[in-house]
């Protein structure tokens, strides 16, 4: 009955609301390790669809605070899970969206974040030392939202990103790793926040990003891989920062994202026919927002948060999405 040639907002809102309910024990426990991220993805998707209040603000904040690990001065993904930079960023983002940053012990969280920077400039995710440019971005984003960016050694941070630049102009997870659209985004966005886009070979990178579009309209994350809805965000947001979103065939990508919707139960999948999840839902909706899809709220491609919120905090950087269509 419902067509997938338009974004089924009410259905997706209900899908996100239903994620909070225990569908079955197994699903809940198989995803506990990324619950904080999932709450941030769901909330941001609701904001972009202009349904921010579809989830209870108080319950969300209560959940966030239940994940605080006092010994570390950071957040875990779920109560009784270890603290880590990724859920700490998501916690900060959720609290910023709900204007509840006063719940955070800013000096302690700042200390936790800064303690994770390595001599080369990259960040570890936690005390056990896994390094990745994702964590570098998380640190830069978090410090920026906490208004503590002045405490960061910017030159050291930027120097690591420089060393991750590959033959093709892209960036990987660590020095020597293959260029990957998600890692390109974290490096590009981190450089945007630090006002160091000069590090990027902008033309070379823009071409690499635009070449991610496949004949079916979808975007992949690396050469010769399958299209996946989440790259609608990673690739498009990077291109927004480089002001080259027009290099993507917008109509074809829009059709691809819409075709990946679950038209019965809501949510968006990685590609048509697969099961939806909240990760692909936010990035599909965010991609559509950057493409100017009518009826959506602007998303800031650097922070992956509502654009007006980022602007109100004085954090907006130079980027350009497609203009919002009227209908």
């Amino acid at each position: 009955m419902t067509s997938s040639s338009q974004l089924l907002i009410p259905l997706h809102v209900r899908y996100i609301q239903s994620l909070g309910e225990n569908k079955d024990d197994l699903t809940y426990h198989l995803t506990a390790h990324l619950r904080m991220n999932a709450v941030y993805w769901g909330l941001t998707a609701l904001c972009i669809m202009d349904h921010k209040d579809a989830l209870s603000k108080d319950e969300t904040i209560e959940y966030v605070m239940s994940c605080w690990v006092d010994e570390a001065g950071a957040f875990g993904p779920h109560p009784d899970h270890d603290p880590h930079l990724l859920p700490t960023l998501s916690a900060i983002q959720i609290l910023v969206i709900h204007d509840a940053l006063d719940r955070i012990d800013v000096p302690r969280v700042t200390k936790f974040i800064l303690s994770l920077q390595q001599p080369s400039g990259v960040f570890a995710g936690d005390q056990f030392g896994e390094i990745d440019t994702r964590f570098l971005y998380s640190a830069v984003n978090a410090l920026s939202l906490l208004d503590q960016l002045h405490q960061l050694d910017v030159e050291k941070t930027v120097s690591y990103i420089k060393q991750c630049k590959n033959f093709d102009g892209g960036f990987g997870a660590v020095i020597g790793a293959e260029s990957h659209a998600a890692q390109v985004w974290v490096c590009t966005a981190a450089l945007a926040i630090l006002d160091r886009l000069d590090v990027i070979d902008q033309d070379t990178l823009a071409w690499w990003l635009a070449e991610r579009q496949l004949p079916n309209g979808g975007l992949n994350g690396r050469p010769q891989k399958l299209e996946d809805v989440c790259y609608s965000f990673w690739v498009l947001s990077s291109l927004s920062v480089l002001r080259k979103v027009s290099w993507i065939d917008a109509d074809k990508l829009t059709s691809f994202i819409l075709s990946a919707q679950d038209t019965e139960n809501g949510g968006i999948a990685d590609r048509p026919g697969d099961l939806p999840d909240v990760f692909h839902t936010i990035f599909g909706v965010a991609g559509l927002s950057l493409l100017g899809y009518p009826g959506l709220v602007d998303i800031d491609p650097v922070y992956c948060m509502p654009a007006n919120l980022i602007e109100s905090k004085g954090l907006r950087k130079g980027w350009e999405a497609l203009p919002r269509k009227a209908s």
């Binding site: 390790h33 009784d80 899970h81 030392g129 033959f167 997870a173 010769q224 065939d249």
Partner: protein
């Protein structure tokens, strides 16, 4: 004994599984009746667990793990065992469970879990497709290797996940390569398996560059031989996995570093040596390899990107690409590709797709080549045209081939269709 304990004993001992497989269905499909306490197969060191058994055990393990952590201080022996067993079962079903992995690190640090036992569990875990694509499982492996192979290194904590602090034996390196290869087979384009392989190679090269010859260390001769073996191996791998661009960019990375011109030279105590003629030959060999594969599979994006990368490996940025000399070498090849694909295009839908694909990649390649050249001012009207494969090839080839002194610097490439 509950299933979690039964599995935990198998997974955490000195004769652990070599490989693990999750079998479809329930125990009844695989095991005789009465196997309730050990509803899994463990034969010739291969563990097979029916998926329904695993997910029931997972739920049990999650509760055991949470309960045991609540009574952490002080921790009893039975709680330690419960945590070690339950964490291993949790990771089988959910290898992204960072907290379970961290618990094991804590037990290794307190010596309640032998690092060698945990390394064996990690090896077995990496035989599972889901586990083999988790960055944390690979990081955990390197964390263990640093502790086992170089426990006194001052860099142990500030290590930045390098393996350069380890002087691997040839056998150890071969094992790491084998684990990375297996993971890249079970989960193609395995990003973290190839990163791990790269870090192992970096360690080998670091040993070759920095360590004086010593009877305590692997001989330089043997390590050099392994390096040459790997350079040959990677080309064979690429021949068998022509969509594996991750392998191709790995090849370019290690050939670059081996040739002494790697850009990622953080670990070198002194600047890399000048490139030898032999090394140049190796890089030319890589380009020839890429081009020969393109002859057979011109529709593969991965091979075009591989081909591009081989041009980026030589010379200084200024010398890197004289588009004219490159295109002279390629023009017959490209014209032949375009003619062949045009001839094939009348032979049905898949041939048409292949024709479109070849046109797309040739168009993008020529545009890329023009961008790399400093001699050509190329401003296509709309990048989308190139990205869609709409390109006047002959005009573009002719312009790329035009001798430089005869062209005015203000000449602009003819408009592309």
């Amino acid at each position: 004994m509950c299933v979690v304990s039964a599995l935990g004993i198998v997974l955490n001992n000195e004769v652990p599984p070599l490989g693990i497989e999750i079998l479809p269905g329930d125990a009844s499909a695989w095991l005789p009746e009465g196997s309730n306490e050990r509803p899994f197969l463990f034969e010739e060191r291969n563990l097979g667990i029916p998926s329904k058994v695993l997910y029931r055990a997972y739920l049990e393990a999650v509760h055991i793990f949470a309960e045991a952590r609540r009574t952490w201080h002080p921790i009893s022996e039975s709680n330690k065992t419960a945590l070690i067993h339950s964490s291993s079962v949790i990771l089988l079903a959910n290898p992204a469970h960072q907290t379970a992995l961290n618990a094991r690190k804590r037990f290794v640090l307190s010596k309640s879990l032998h690092a060698e036992v945990d390394l064996c569990f990690n090896t077995a875990l990496l035989s599972l497709p889901d586990a083999s694509k988790q960055s944390i499982v690979w990081h955990h492996r390197r964390w263990l290797l640093r502790r086992l192979r170089n426990p006194t290194s001052p860099l142990l904590e500030a290590h930045e996940d390098t393996l350069d602090v380890i002087n691997f034996s040839v056998e150890d390196l071969r094992q790491e390569f084998s684990i990375a290869s297996r993971a890249s087979e079970v989960y193609p384009r395995n990003y973290f398996a190839w990163t791990h392989r790269y870090l192992c190679m970096h360690s080998l090269l670091s040993t070759l560059r920095h360590q004086p010859s010593s009877s305590l260390l692997p001989s330089h001769h043997d390590l050099n031989a392994l390096l040459m073996e790997e350079c040959g191996w990677i080309k064979t791998w690429i021949d068998r996995h022509i969509s594996d661009y991750t392998a191709m960019q790995y090849a370019c990375q290690i050939f670059s570093i081996a040739a002494g011109m790697g850009k990622n030279n953080l670990s070198w105590a002194s600047p890399p040596p000048d490139m030898s003629p032999d090394a140049l030959l190796d890089i030319q060999g890589l380009r020839t390899h890429a081009q020969s594969l393109l002859h057979t599979y011109p529709e593969r994006e991965s091979l075009w990107m591989y081909f591009r990368d081989t041009f980026q490996m030589t010379g200084s940025p200024q010398e890197r690409l004289d588009a004219r000399s490159v295109v002279w070498g390629l023009v017959d090849f490209i014209r032949e590709l375009l003619d062949t694909s045009a001839a094939d295009s009348g032979q049905g839908t898949s041939a048409l797709d292949k024709y479109d694909s070849i046109n797309l990649h040739v168009c993008r390649f020529l545009a890329w080549l023009a961008r790399q050249s400093h001699a050509i001012d190329m401003r296509p009207q709309n990048p989308l045209d190139i990205l869609r494969g709409r390109c006047d090839y002959n005009a573009l080839l002719d312009t790329l081939l035009t001798p430089l002194p005869q062209r005015r610097s203000t000449d602009i490439i003819p408009q592309m269709k």
